[in-house]
């Protein structure tokens, strides 16, 4: 151990806590824990893996489908079926980006270095969204082509040039972003990994198929139609499967829901003691 010396170098240039600097910091922070890389890898593997199995299954059983089932089949959408599980991976990552700060209390270092907390939150959200979009896009492309390989064997494959297909693939990436942001918003709101992840799974996966059970007299059909993933997934369909809701109106409703959660969460982050 050397004797401590508190030398005073001349005051160096420092850019200060600008948004760009905070963004650079959050970018490095995002990738500097191993769990991030694992989550990204899991998103890719799970989505493509499930898609492969599902597309294979469809192509095998296509002969047994009746006419209405065949006409309901949306080959572009079916090739993104792996996102049913992929959405959870990104939601978990989104939640952890925030909750890990609180569970490790690293948030105190973070907010000491950058007292403007909303800048931190915005930078985190942007990093997450960009990563989710890029990884989502690559994943959806690969999944799409693998899916179409299987569908080609029963002659129902579609190509990028077909109407709606590019939007489905980009929509898949956008849906991944939305799910990540859902987890992120819940993370800011609840600050607890387990709580945020459980709630995200409930809101995206468990509740959507059940919410239609609300009596129509109470608006069950409308609520169900616009509820989280029920609305958001329409962006991955070439032809909307639900009446009165299109790809973009559905996605907008989905976005609005996490945005509301995020605004409340951000307000709490700013207000609460770190």
């Amino acid at each position: 151990m050397s004797a401590p010396v508190a030398q005073r170098p001349q005051q160096q240039q420092a850019g200060g806590v600008t948004f760009v600097n905070v963004l650079r910091a959050e970018w490095v922070k995002f990738w500097s824990v191993r769990s991030t890389a694992w989550a990204v890898l899991a998103l890719v593997v799970v989505t493509i893996g499930i898609t492969t199995l599902f597309s294979w299954g469809i192509s095998e059983s296509y002969d047994q489908l009746d006419a209405s089932e065949r006409s309901d089949l949306d080959p572009a959408n079916a090739s993104l079926s792996g996102l049913f599980f992929g959405q959870l991976v990104i939601a978990v990552l989104g939640a952890l980006v925030v909750t890990a700060e609180y569970s490790t209390r690293g948030v105190r270092s973070t907010f000491t270095a950058v007292p403007r907390r909303l800048n931190v939150l915005a930078a985190k959200a942007l990093v997450l969204a960009v990563v989710a979009f890029v990884v989502g896009l690559v994943t959806c492309f690969v999944a799409f082509f693998i899916g179409q390989l299987f569908f080609a064997s029963v002659d129902i494959d579609v190509s990028l040039g077909d109407p709606g297909v590019p939007r489905v693939i980009i929509g898949g990436a956008l849906y991944v972003v939305g799910c990540g942001m859902f987890g992120f918003a819940l993370g800011t709101l609840l600050r607890h990994s387990a709580g945020a992840i459980t709630t995200a799974v409930a809101l995206l996966l468990v509740v959507p198929p059940l919410i239609g059970l609300i009596p129509d007299a109470l608006g069950g059909e409308q609520i169900s139609k616009w509820f989280t993933s029920n609305a958001g997934t329409h962006i991955m369909e070439t032809v909307s499967s639900t009446e009165g809701i299109g790809p973009w109106s559905g996605y907008a409703a989905f976005t609005l829901q996490w945005l509301v959660l995020l605004v409340i969460g951000a307000w709490l982050v700013k207000r609460r003691d770190a």
Binding site: P4, A6, A25, V28, K29
Partner: protein, 313 residues
């Protein structure tokens, strides 16, 4: 410079910090002393804008910390060494902090060097010992080369070598003209490190004065002498108007310097085996001051109290 003005923090019905006002000056080490639960950490978090004061405000170099353009250059703070994500390497942790404030990357290498962590820079923090974590916290605090440094119980849990290192480090920072504000619940530690003391108990300010004055005011100095001719010496001292007591085989007296006692003994031909000055323990002085403000009293059962544990049921 740190200024607290009427800082108050209320949790529910409990006042954790109660109308604290003080100034921490540059160039010296200022100790922030109080029993556990006195509100030291809460005060420090409020200074950093991590906790929102119920009322009052804290200023760092004349402005609220949260308004700083380069916060890490204003204050370097080590609150709890374990307040970091263990999954990151030491270098990554420091790089993130440096980037956020736009500090040059070489500062990361410089503070790693300064704290002797260069060799473990690529190790993940969760594998660090408390001493290493503490050094990492200090490295982070030094990143922005700040004028004000704040350490919360920095020697807690450290081995003697680590304690000595931190003590010298804080002294050298103050000697370099910086403001050093360090909390502790140990009076003895503060007596060694701090030039000035801010003492709180139950969130209230109890004392704000130089360490020497604090010790002088709060502890009585006595002289003890051991002599085979104790009776003769006691009489000689009594002639001078100095009262003596018998304590543990010594004569104890106050209001006289050791020189005078020695001279007196020599002039009377009295043999002295031992002669020394004794301060009543600083811890005792501190406990005396904070007696009414300790958050959690431990009951010491005594025979006289008449209560037998378990017997009351």
């Amino acid at each position: 410079m740190i200024e607290a003005r009427g800082l108050t923090k209320v949790y529910g019905s409990k006042k954790a910090v109660d109308d604290l006002s003080f100034t921490v000056s540059p160039g010296i080490v200022t100790g922030f002393l109080g029993p556990n639960g006195a509100g030291k950490s809460t005060t420090m978090r409020m200074i950093l804008g991590l906790d929102r004061p119920t009322s009052g405000q804290a200023l760092v170099n004349g402005q609220p910390y949260t308004a700083a353009k380069v916060p890490l250059r204003e204050v370097g703070a080590l609150l709890d060494a374990k307040d970091v994500h263990g999954g990151r390497t030491a270098r990554a942790h420091l790089t993130v902090l440096a980037l956020s404030n736009g500090l040059p990357k070489r500062r990361v290498d410089e503070v790693l060097e300064l704290t002797g962590l260069t060799g473990v820079a690529k190790k993940r923090i969760r594998g660090f010992s408390l001493g290493m974590s503490q050094r990492l916290g200090i490295a982070a605090a030094m990143l922005g080369d700040p004028d004000v440094l704040m350490f919360d119980e920095p020697v807690n849990g450290l081995d003697p070598e680590g304690i000595l290192w931190i003590r010298n480090f804080m002294r050298s920072l103050a000697a370099g003209g910086r403001t050093v504000f360090v909390s502790s619940h140990l009076m003895s530690e503060m007596a060694l490190t701090a030039d000035h003391l801010i003492v709180i108990g139950r969130g209230k300010l109890l004392a704000d004065m130089g360490t020497k004055d604090f010790i002088a005011q709060n502890s009585a100095t006595t002289v003890r002498v051991r002599s085979p001719q104790a009776d003769q010496l006691a009489r000689a001292l009594a002639e001078r108007g100095t009262q003596t007591r018998q304590v543990d085989g010594y004569l104890e007296l106050s209001g006289v310097a050791t020189d005078q006692v020695g001279d007196l003994a020599a002039s009377r031909g009295i043999t002295i085996h031992e002669l020394f000055q004794q301060r009543s323990s600083l811890e005792e002085a501190f406990m005396e001051l904070t007696r009414d403000s300790v958050e959690y009293h431990a009951e010491v059962p005594t025979a006289a109290s008449g209560s037998v544990p378990g017997g009351a049921a």
